[in-house]
Symmetry: C2
Subunit: 273 residues, 2 copies
């Protein structure tokens, strides 16, 4: 059964333990984001990031064509380094942006309704979308021939435009398309916390039916997207999504033993709390 | 018979005509470089390019780890845009850096003997290599399943380090490994010129046996590398290498009709001079 592992690309995550852990395993697909480093890179290239506030009060990045280029640069560099790390460990990794073989295909949303200085405006030219189709045949072809796919956004829209997309939700679509029973979403925190300041408040289990309520109460910042991704994966038939730390010595092994927030069905052998 | 097409990534090349031409054809592999844009990007990121003069007087780029990151960014962005352009034309392109599936594997040269202020020094930490092995099985797997591979440097060393490498010579290795009979090397000039200022001095045919002499006399600047790539391809059994313009309305069709510098065996139907 193929395992799907999503990892953040932040500077605060050392991916080496994850890569070493994955190198001991077969039949997995890795997904990583590209947003980390994008803000700094944008500033350095004289094109500072632009954030807009939606009518509902959500703050999101506005991705114009130049910003998408910056994303592509950041994704390309991070993907190359992850593939290199895996190759050094003897894993024949293949890095793919979402546009390659349309592996991550998205519904594009080319405009944003936003509040600017208190006024409602429509901003066009946003290169953003939500992944809703995965080329599972390409992933299976690579897996069957001994390659380990390492996927990154940007995705590609149904019309063929490269678009920025949330990598957690992309990973959920990959897990669903491959019929995976488990999706791991690894980051620099141990899982969903009741109090973000206190790792001891880790929520260890969330049955699917309780996800919405728990998320509303505790998910903050980028964990809102992770919870959205988890809900999406469960809807697609994935049995469980585990939000866990990428910084453990064996992050995949630990997560699969239940070290983290297990959403959906419990793990086979759960570590005693 | 698979056709291998190398194109430069310069701002002076509009790749759209090439992509439209390729979209009408099947069974090809594209290779592109990443060096264009790297100098500017390096400057913007506060890490200006460093060039060193070898003992034999050759000037070459010294690629430290940070410069390789800049290469990876530039390659990732250019590759994504080419794949996007092909996808819009209905071609199911798959972009691969050389490290993916070890598709472009290189012998690394980690030091350079150079002249600095007239003194001989050994500079270590160069992330540079020469492609000498190609994962043809991966390319054939993709081609057989309807995907069009779009390859870019960096390559990966035999030890697993990402390395900068010459894309013309990488394309020669790809053509050799796939048993291609023709390699096209497209750039912003119509081919090898006797007088670089005058397109009318195009050298239309160079038999393999005369390549070294003609190259010594006329190849300048980056055409030296293209001629090296051509010689390498011929040694690997490729019948002909055509140096031609990427800026023609149908650059592949024109080159295959002999519009350019045909090195090695003549084309089947050569256009009258």
């Amino acid at each position: 059964m193929t395992l799907v592992v999503k990892v953040g690309g932040g500077a605060d995550i050392d991916v080496q333990p994850l890569l070493r852990d994955l190198a001991q395993r077969t039949d997995w697909v890795m997904v990583h984001g590209a947003s980390n480093g994008v803000n700094q890179l944008s500033e350095q290239l004289g094109h500072p990031p632009r954030f807009v506030t939606s009518l509902s009060g959500h703050v999101s990045r506005f991705t114009d064509a130049r910003t998408l280029d910056v994303f592509a640069m950041s994704a390309g560099q991070q993907n190359l380094r992850i593939v290199e790390g895996l190759q050094r460990l003897g894993v024949n990794a293949v890095g793919l942006a979402g546009s390659s073989g349309r592996v991550l295909e998205a519904e594009r949303k080319d405009h944003v309704k936003a509040l600017v200085d208190g006024k409602r405006v429509v901003l066009r030219g946003d290169h953003t979308g939500t992944v809703d189709r995965v080329n599972a045949a390409l992933l299976r072809l690579l897996l069957a021939n001994g390659y380990a796919p390492v996927l990154t956004v940007p995705a590609i829209s149904h019309e063929g435009d490269a678009v920025n997309a949330d990598a957690d939700r992309a990973a959920a679509q990959v897990a669903g398309a491959l019929g995976a029973d488990t999706l791991l979403i690894l980051s620099n925190v141990p899982g969903l916390l009741r109090d973000v300041q206190d790792p001891a408040t880790l929520i260890r289990r969330i049955p699917a039916a309780e996800l919405e309520g728990v998320a509303e109460k505790y998910a903050q910042g980028r964990f809102k997207k992770k919870v959205l991704g988890a809900a999406e994966a469960l809807q697609l038939g994935v049995e469980r999504v585990i939000l866990a730390s990428a910084n453990a010595p064996e992050p995949v092994g630990a997560a699969l033993l239940g070290e983290g927030t297990v959403i959906g069905e419990p793990v086979a052998r759960e570590v005693p709390a």
